[in-house]
């Protein structure tokens, strides 16, 4: 049985990057996928604070793949990974008021809701890159949790009290440890370490404006 009635999750479009955003009634907004490199690049071009050498360092651990050419084998390369928490927070601030990294509880709650939900409908006003990604992920995934990349995606930054940790269930060729996101938490993260498997998505609670 679904935890929510059918119409409680809708997909809308974010105003900054025109990528899909889940609107979950009474809970909040969550980016449908982890933030992609294309989205982060929009941020880079608007803030004049990140140079080529910085981006080369980021791409060295998880190289860029174009949304035109990615495949089922390599889609993890679409997502921005290896950021420090401060770089994630700068993006969140730019992305919109109230957006931040979800807490462990928020992430797991939404993961359960999505796992029980139907497939989503694509909003007509998402950007061209988002449309291309949507189309391919529809072919690659068998369930809404796979489609949203909460399963078979990357490890994502989450807040755990005052600390930061990681949640997710990546495919073994991307991150070799088998994880159950409902039980396991990736901790003991060294500060200033760029972890190729760590990306993020953003969440805003319904009353966080």
């Amino acid at each position: 049985m679904s935890l929510l009635s059918d119409d409680l999750i809708t997909v809308v479009t974010d105003e900054k990057t025109h990528f899909p955003l889940l609107k979950i009634e009474k809970i909040g907004f969550l980016t449908l996928w982890p933030i992609t490199k294309v989205q982060y690049e929009t941020f880079i071009t608007q803030v004049n604070n990140y140079g080529d050498s910085w981006y080369n360092e980021i791409l060295a651990s998880n190289p860029r793949i174009s949304f035109q050419h990615f495949s089922k084998r390599n889609y993890e390369r679409l997502f921005i990974t290896g950021l420090h928490i401060g770089e994630v927070q700068s993006f969140a601030k730019w992305f919109g008021d109230g957006y931040q990294i979800p807490t462990v509880k928020e992430w797991r709650n939404i993961y359960k809701i999505i796992s029980e939900d139907d497939f989503f409908s694509c909003p007509s006003d998402i950007s061209y890159p988002a449309k291309k990604i949507w189309k391919k992920f529809t072919r690659f995934s068998n369930s809404p949790s796979q489609f949203s990349l909460m399963k078979d995606g990357i490890i994502e930054w989450v807040r755990d009290g005052e600390k930061y940790a990681g949640l997710g269930a990546p495919r073994s060729h991307f991150y070799p440890n088998v994880l159950d996101p409902c039980k396991d938490l990736v901790t003991k993260i060294k500060q200033n370490e760029r972890l190729y498997y760590f990306g993020f998505r953003l969440f805003k609670g319904m009353n966080d404006d």
């Binding site: 294309v38 690049e41 880079i44 071009t45 608007q46 803030v47 004049n48 604070n49 990140y50 140079g51 080529d52 050498s53 981006y55 791409l59 860029r64 174009s66 949304f67 035109q68 050419h69 890159p129």
Partner: protein
């Protein structure tokens, strides 16, 4: 005999968009980048619009203030990475020149976009394209040659080939000439791009430019042989419907041995053009058989089906009417030609009948 679709495509506009790389990877080459940009601006002929952008920034900069402001503009664009999407997202038709050094990260996103295959990358240090095959990348030492090319405007285009005989083209700025074989020619066009269905081999487009002549080989587009019905159905011209009495005339005409003027007081025989030349009508250009088509000139296609009789203009002076057979309109007359393999040329046969049947209930007529 070989038959194919070929396409000749050139940028429509006479705009030049210069994109400067102010990113970290081009920092040490900045003086060269500025010098080359100035050379382009100074040598661009009047009448060609120039636009200036910086990589990673959608904002257009004013070239008139280039010298005084270029230093501060660089600072404002120095830490934005190297991305071309903010510029290409807003440009449709232009000659784009990027001057810089170091990889442009998002070039691959644009690789399959047909409008940007002519981008020129002027590499002043390290490659901007890497392995991405988009546009042309040249070294700064070849800049002077490239500069001539940038301002090398097309004055005219001539398309021809071995046994070339086009029977459909989508740019009305081109016309047929008969000089050492058939050619399509055009001059003074804003847009020389053209898609052609034609008989023939080794088809080339010769461009007369301000600096020199250039010859491009035109290759097949698509994998299938052109089909005249598909061409008629899928071109951009809309079908219109004949009026009820016109429909009756049409259906009577196509089964008659002798075609007569529908005016009961005339009944003059119609042999070529769908107009009656009986002076009693008092029409200098002849009395139109179909009032719905009175403003048309050239070939018209009719389509008869259960919903009625429809017509549309055929945009070219030549139409394919059968295998290795075409009709060509010239001075209010259409002549049927067929390919004579022994003589290796197209030979005139008869005049086109008022309604020439194509396959599947389609007819071609001359108005």
């Amino acid at each position: 005999m070989e038959e194919q679709f070929v396409e000749f495509s050139v940028p429509k506009s006479e705009n030049i968009v210069v994109v400067l790389d102010a990113s970290e990877s081009a920092e040490q080459f900045w003086p060269t980048i500025v010098d080359l940009a100035k050379k382009i601006f100074q040598n661009t002929p009047a009448g060609i619009e120039k636009k200036l952008f910086f990589l990673s920034n959608p904002q257009e900069y004013n070239i008139d203030n280039f010298e005084e402001n270029v230093g501060s503009w660089r600072k404002n664009n120095n830490k934005k990475g190297s991305f071309i999407s903010p510029i290409l997202n807003q440009i449709t038709q232009a000659t784009i020149v990027v001057i810089g050094s170091g990889i442009i990260y998002d070039l691959e996103d644009w690789k399959i976009h047909p409008s940007f295959q002519n981008i020129v990358f002027i590499n002043v240090g390290n490659s901007m394209r890497g392995n991405v095959e988009l546009g042309t990348e040249i070294e700064k030492d070849d800049f002077d040659d490239q500069l001539l090319q940038l301002h090398n405007r097309i004055l005219s285009v001539k398309i021809t080939g071995l046994d070339f005989f086009p029977y459909y083209w989508d740019n009305p700025g081109y016309s047929i000439i008969d000089e050492d074989g058939i050619s399509l020619i055009s001059s003074n066009l804003e847009d020389y791009s053209i898609k052609i269905a034609a008989y023939g081999r080794n088809i080339t487009a010769t461009m007369e430019k301000t600096e020199k002549q250039e010859v491009n080989s035109l290759s097949h587009t698509g994998t299938h042989t052109p089909d005249i019905i598909q061409i008629i159905e899928h071109n951009n011209i809309k079908w219109e419907k004949l009026e009820r009495d016109e429909m009756e005339t049409f259906r009577k005409h196509i089964v008659s041995d002798i075609i007569r003027c529908p005016d009961p007081s005339c009944e003059n025989e119609i042999t070529g053009l769908l107009r009656c030349d009986n002076p009693k009508h008092g029409k200098l250009l002849g009395f139109p058989i179909y009032p719905s088509l009175k403003n048309y000139k050239g070939f018209v296609i009719f389509k008869d089906n259960s919903q009625g009789v429809f017509f549309k203009h055929y945009p070219s002076e030549i139409v394919k009417i059968d295998e290795e057979k075409v009709a060509r309109s010239k001075k209010s007359k259409a002549t049927v030609l067929h390919y004579e393999p022994n003589m290796k040329k197209w030979v005139e046969q008869d005049d086109l009948k008022p309604y020439h049947p194509l396959k599947g209930g389609y007819y071609v007529s001359l108005i």
